[in-house]
Amino acid sequence: MKALEISGITYSYNQPVDRSGIAENEYSLRDFSMSVQSGQFHALLGPNGAGKTTLMRLITGQLRGYIGDVFIYEHKKWGKEVLSSIGYAPQPISVFPSLTAMENLRIFGVMAGLSKDSLNRQSKEVLEETGLLSHAQKRVSTYSGGMLRRLNLAVALLHSPQLLLLDEPTVGVDPQSRNHIYETLKKINTFGITIVLCTHIMDEAQRLCTRVTMVDKGSVIFSGDMKEIDNLEKFFLEKTGRGLRDEN
């Protein structure tokens, strides 16, 4: 079963995509297609500004006004069932700094529709899983960068999603926290949870993922098995070029 199927997506932040005459560089995604099988650990790679975060936001229902189709577990609309099946850890650390970790999990858990008992149990589980249980009652503003990243992930895991979307989950963290996150992700993937990992760290993608989709300038430039690729970084540079990609 396909956890995620994206077919022919075209999207622009600045212009309605059904309008003709849009400049080439105004498209964030252009005729983009990819599919992810249930239980897969899928890497989504691309240089800065390639369209990865746009794709994540589109899958989570934050962006509208695109052409094409997005199917999540064969559902086309973002109903309660679909949204509850997605866990999303955005690239910015999106938690409330003046609340404790437990209070953060409570607000997101209630929004996900968890009952009181499930919320308490699952909050403890994800905090344990991410190594934050002993810091559960501390305000998030006192957390280190690594702890914040792990809490960002814990929020995404809280409601036991079937599809986990991770946008650069290890950026700016120390090797210990990074390793802890890798172990957590590997473990939950063995339980059959589908993971789409958006990252710039080639070693991370090669170590964790079984499939890879490369995106550049809003379009897919490669899709295949990770085992087909010997040196991912070299392969990535061959596909996307060595020129700098500073975003405007």
Partner: protein, 373 residues
């Protein structure tokens, strides 16, 4: 489930707000301090000057004749006059320089005979209004003595009647300050509110909430309700300070008029207008720093134009017209209608409608302007 989610969103917002060390002083202590200090400072400006502050007067009588003694008695017994004794070694210049008296009245020998007039000398910096009032008073009392009339005012009342209009009473310092600074503080909620909106938009928490099975409208409502409730709390608390605290600490009295319950709809629409203003600022500004400047400057200008700092009744006509562009003017006038003029509900209804339209306009523009997602 919807109510559970809404309750949780409100709880979260209140927790975030209460843990912000700047918000509570800004929203509650600032207006209390403004009410307290400005009411005291402006006590004299808003009050009937002559009855609140007696004129200190040195009265010297060189004549022992009956009319001179009668005039001295009348002056001394007048409730507007406080007789003081000349300190030893003080001439008139020194008296005024050291603020020992506002004026000196001298009844000379020969007053009874009509050969010498009563002399008045004022402190040169004395307010012109006081001078006119004291001169009229002394003139009136002298006329009574000379013409043998007991009370010239009673006699004149057959010829002159002062008609008072109920609806244009001048507010006292507290009547002006309490609703004025309360409304000002309510609109100041735009600062923490718009900062919270923008901060959550910029750090992605707002967008993250939108990825859950919950309506975006519910999320926005969950953010608005706490600020609305804080606005209502501000209103009640500031009125309570005016009614119960100010008489004790500052000796100023304040009451809510004959129909205090009419303040309920006024508070509700004012809170709606203030939260609408906050959302509009959040929609217009691009950074939390911008929201502070924009919200504070706008609130201050609306307060100045709206007659919160200076009563509209003393403004020139052009400023009176300009005042009407400020929502604070309508809120303040509605409060004064209830507190000062004992207005009926139908009298304050147009002001309530204007504030409601202002709130709806703000929400509409903010909704059109911003992509919260």
């Amino acid at each position: 489930m919807i109510f559970k989610k809404l309750k949780e969103l409100i709880r979260k917002e209140l927790l975030v707000l209460l843990r912000d060390r700047q918000t509570i002083p800004l929203l509650f202590l600032m207006p209390i301090a403004l009410i307290f200090f400005l009411s005291l400072a402006l006590k004299g400006v808003y009050s009937d000057k002559l009855t609140v502050h007696q004129i200190s007067l040195i009265l010297e009588n060189s004549s022992r004749a009956p009319k001179a003694l009668k005039l001295e008695e009348k002056i001394v017994n007048n409730k507007l006059i406080q007789r003081v004794e000349r300190p030893e070694g003080y001439d008139n210049d020194k008296l005024f320089e050291y603020g020992k008296a506002h004026a000196v009245v001298y009844i000379p020998e020969g007053f009874d005979e009509g050969t010498k007039p009563v002399e008045i000398e004022f402190d040169p910096v004395l307010d012109a209004g006081y001078k006119v009032a004291l001169r009229s008073l002394i003139t009136g009392l002298t006329a009574e003595v000379v013409m043998g009339i007991d009370d010239i005012e009673t006699m004149a009342s057959n010829f002159i009647v002062e008609k008072k209009r109920k609806n244009i009473r001048f507010p006292s310092a507290l009547q002006q300050s309490v609703p004025g600074w309360t409304i000002f503080a309510m609109f100041f909620i735009a600062i923490p509110m718009s900062i919270a909106f923008l901060r959550e938009k910029n750090d992605g928490t707002l967008q993250r909430l939108f990825t859950y099975p919950v309506s975006p409208n519910l999320i926005i409502l969950g953010k608005l309700i706490p600020y609305y409730l804080i606005n209502l709390t501000q209103f009640v608390l500031m009125l309570a300070v005016g009614v119960y605290v100010m008489p004790l600490v500052a000796g100023l009295s304040f009451n809510l008029g004959e129909h205090p319950w009419h303040l309920v709809p006024v508070a509700m629409v004012t809170a709606a207008a203030a939260t609408g203003f906050g959302v509009l600022i959040a929609a217009l500004a691009r950074s939390p720093e911008q929201t502070s400047t924009l919200a504070a400057t706008s609130a201050l200008l609306m307060a100045v134009f709206g007659g919160l700092m200076l009563p509209v009744v003393v403004m020139p006509l052009v400023m009176k017209k300009l005042a009407m562009i400020s929502p604070m003017y309508w809120a303040h006038q509605a409060c004064l209608d209830v507190i000062l003029r004992d207005a009926s509900f139908s009298f304050i209804l147009p002001k309530i409608i204007i504030l409601t339209l202002f709130a709806l306009g703000c929400f509409y523009i903010a909704g059109r302007k911003v992509k919260w997602m």
